[in-house]
Amino acid sequence: MTAPLLDVENLTVSYRIGKRWIPAVRDFHLQLAPGHIVGLVGESGSGKSTVALALMRYLGSNGRVESGGRLDFAGEDLLSKSDAEMRSIWARRVKLVPQNAGAALNPSMKIGAQVTEVLGAAMGTGGAEAEQAMLQIFHDVNLVDPEKVADRYPHELSGGMQQRVVIAMALITNPELLILDEPTTGLDVTTEAVILDLVRGLMAERDTGVIYITHNLGVVAQLCERVLVLYAGEIMEEAPVEQLYALPRHPYSLGLLNSVPRLGQSKADSRLHSISGNPPALAELTRGCVFADRCEFVIDKCRVEKPPLEQLGDGRAARCFRWEEVDASFLGPAVGSSEGERVLQRDDADTDTLMRVTNLKKHFPVAKSLEDWLRGRTPAPIRAVDGVNLTLRAGQTLGLVGESGSGKTTLSRLIIGLQERTGGQLELLGMDIRNSVRERSPDVLSKLQMVFQNPQNSLNPYLSVRQALRRPLVKLRGMTPAGAEAEVAQLLRRVNLREDYADRFPDELSGGEKQRVVIARAFASDPDLIICDEPVSALDVSVQSAVLNLLARLQEEHGSAYLFISHDLAVVGYLSDVIAVMYLGQLFEVGAASDLFQPPYHPYTEALVSAIPVADPHHKAERMLLHDVLPSAQRLPSGCRFHTRCPRKIGAVCEEEAPPWREVEAGHAIRCHIPLEELSALQHSFPRSEEIG
């Protein structure tokens, strides 16, 4: 290895909470050579952003680096630098690309001024020269029309463009070290793929050392050479990326890798592996291993003695006493579902139709502008949902995927009745049901329930778990208070929570526990259909799989149907029987989950699938990138709505005519002008889980 660009040893960072200093990151090590990319993976609260700020030496007044550590950058000790020296280092040599680019840009300053300001601070360049450099770097990050972008304000750019501007700002001084802190969190998969592609391309040309921080194991696999796995402020494992994914040496890494559903994995095949429990709070750290409480390999020693970060050779290190024994087989097979039953259901395609959605529409009216008034015209409405036909079968899961803005959430809200439809019909068990919850009968209400995205806001903070669960029992199932009391305990047991949780309040529950209570509440009325709108996307990876398993098990026990919405295709694929792909208010492909990831697929589905960062370093698929942003649902493209972004557009017919539905086989249909045989020939098969590892 060449002389390290960054050499960090025994770094401990503390935050002041009240009067105490609490170490948020402990004993951190990192070595980075120029031109290399190292990934830093961790869940929320693992301290990964703290590491980023500490490496920048930008901690604010309530954070500090404890003495005894070392933070050397290009041979210089950063910890002993004065503020002025740090400013000159920040100006050109070390750059941070923060999370949430939109907030990181000054809202009242034009993009151009913000970018050239960097050059002014770094090398005193200004005027035309700076302008030139800016346009060049904008070009490098693939910003279309650089002059125009420079003349805009941040809010006038899309999320992806803002992210590119922030990356451009960091790269413009050609820094030696670049820290990217979750740069794609909050962006759509399609946009994320484009940004990752860009970062990979830019880094290949430069000699910059890069630290890439993320919670997404797929992104690391696709981008990085080495990985550090962070948990509760400590490095659990360090390894070259191929080795980590092939054979993790720390129980946490192992659990993490196995808890993410692989694309094509289904609830019918196996349950997901899950790590029990929750990450510890900073204030309750013990002297033993931080992971001991959740570890399946735990021995008595782990609870009293903190394991050191042991060098294993080959550039690997692990903080575990039993690293040699860590092996996927130790975990045993994930608990399988009762195979026979599932197979039976799968075959029985003619199960009862639970709900039929016919030509469902939701158009949001747009307020007239002054010009509209003068010309006496009505502006086009926003067509959030525009003619959707769907059939949900009893006991099955229908997965709904699409980018944000595609209308998935609106569709689900129309079905549950939180929004009133503009047109179309909803039939539940053969009977028409009314528009809004206010008009629906208690009988209908009890049959439809919902699990929300954000567990934080799904429970009333002023009601105990008992109160939250008892209400639907009394209200929708007409139970007596005494009966409801017994049933509350029953419900809690079914979602794997102890009965004494009934007396807790939401602020005494972790995110995963809250979501379990929300699920219990949804099941309280014994519903036929539960709408799950991104139910795990707000949860940490290690908690997600337990909730997914729970949903799968409850479905088996109750025979409830799910309408499952998620941006994560692997998650949708795991839980769904049927998947529908939505784009700009319409469906473009519907098919059985097992068929959907195989060609032929709709070009949009193809783009979504290929955009997924696969948690396998060997998988280097050719991506089909979607440039441009989703068009406005007020000014919809003519013909096929996807034609403005479609990489497989065949010509004028796409712009002029709405595409026909083409049936691939029973229950699998694609809405595209391209004949199915041609699609099949053009498209790659996507590797399924069996082919990985």
Binding site: L418, L445, Q449, P461, R466, R471
Partner: protein, 307 residues
């Protein structure tokens, strides 16, 4: 089974009080407010001359303090030009200001919250229309509106003992309630708008809960912190307003022991004669306003921290 809820509320209240009192300024303010409240409630028992209009025609005295006995003399704040004991009048004045400002605040907070929560939750034309009326009301400066209302109602002739006359006697209290209802309603409305998008409210809607249940059971608890802050702010403005109206001659009528009125009665040429008759009520107003401000600032801080 509600013991846990109860103990949680006690704990929350204790935390709240802890934050409020840890800050020296707000602790001082709170202590002073409670001191004045004590005077307001027990004033008639504490004042040496429980009838504020007892006159001693022969004396106009300056303040006295019996230092040897370590106690206040006969007229610790002196007497005014009519020979009335200023000390007693200041003590008795606390009652009227607390009654008017406090009751006015309570009424406006209760009515304003109900109206605002309903507006925020239901939305639609009701919200639109009432929102406009509130905007229009807020465009008229509070003191101007109060002056006009008090002035007009005062000038109307009513049969003595009729309900109208009764009403006119409490006009300041009513005016305060009326003036602050729209302000409180606006705060409650915007909080309700925020809370009603939370998923737990939607979950209640999906259960088919009636409007009153959603407003009072689901939304109200989360809005209470904002309302507490607003109520303390309203109280401080109400005291300000009552004192100003009293001073301008639109509050209590003479010879009531109203602080604002006392200040007004003793200014100008009389000030040279009996400065203490102005200084002490003015000081009382100043202290109470500062105390209430410090307390409401502390309440705001404590509520923010609690969230």
């Amino acid at each position: 089974m509600n013991s846990s809820l109860f103990s949680r509320q006690v704990a929350a209240l204790r935390r709240f009080a802890g934050v409020l009192l840890r800050h020296p300024q707000s602790a001082l303010g709170t202590a002073l407010v409670f001191f004045f409240l004590f005077l307001a409630i027990f004033g008639s028992g504490l004042a040496p001359y429980p009838n504020p209009n007892d006159q001693r025609h022969d004396v106009r005295l300056s303040p006295t303090l019996d230092i040897g006995a370590l106690q206040l003399g006969a007229h610790p704040f002196g007497t005014d030009r009519l020979g009335r004991d200023v000390y007693s009048r200041v003590i008795l004045g606390a009652g009227s200001i607390f009654r008017i400002a406090g009751l006015g605040t309570v009424i406006s907070v209760l009515v304003g919250s109900a109206v605002g929560l309903y507006m925020g939750y239901r939305g639609g034309w009701f919200d639109e229309l009432l929102g406009r009326v509130i905007d229009a009301l807020l465009a008229i400066p509070a003191l101007l509106l109060a002056l006009v209302l008090v002035g007009i109602i005062r000038n109307l002739d009513f049969e003595i003992g009729s309900w109208q006359a009764e009403l006119a006697d409490n006009v300041v209290l009513l005016v305060i309630a009326v003036l602050y209802v729209p302000v409180v309603a606006r705060v409650a409305r915007s909080s309700a708008l925020d809370i009603k998008t939370r998923e737990f409210v939607e979950a209640a809607e999906i259960r088919g809960e009636p409007t009153y249940y959603i407003i009072f059971r689901e939304i109200l608890p989360s809005v209470i912190p904002a309302l507490v802050v607003e109520a303390s702010l309203r109280f401080s403005y109400a005291i300000f307003l009552v004192a100003s109206l009293g001073f301008l001659g639109f509050g209590a009528r003479p010879p009531s022991p109203d602080w604002g009125l006392m200040v007004n009665e003793n200014r100008g040429g009389f000030y040279q004669l009996t400065p203490w008759a102005l200084d002490f009520p003015a000081l009382a107003i100043a202290l109470l306003v500062i105390a209430v401000n410090l307390m409401s600032d502390g309440i705001r801080r404590a509520v923010q921290k609690g969230n």
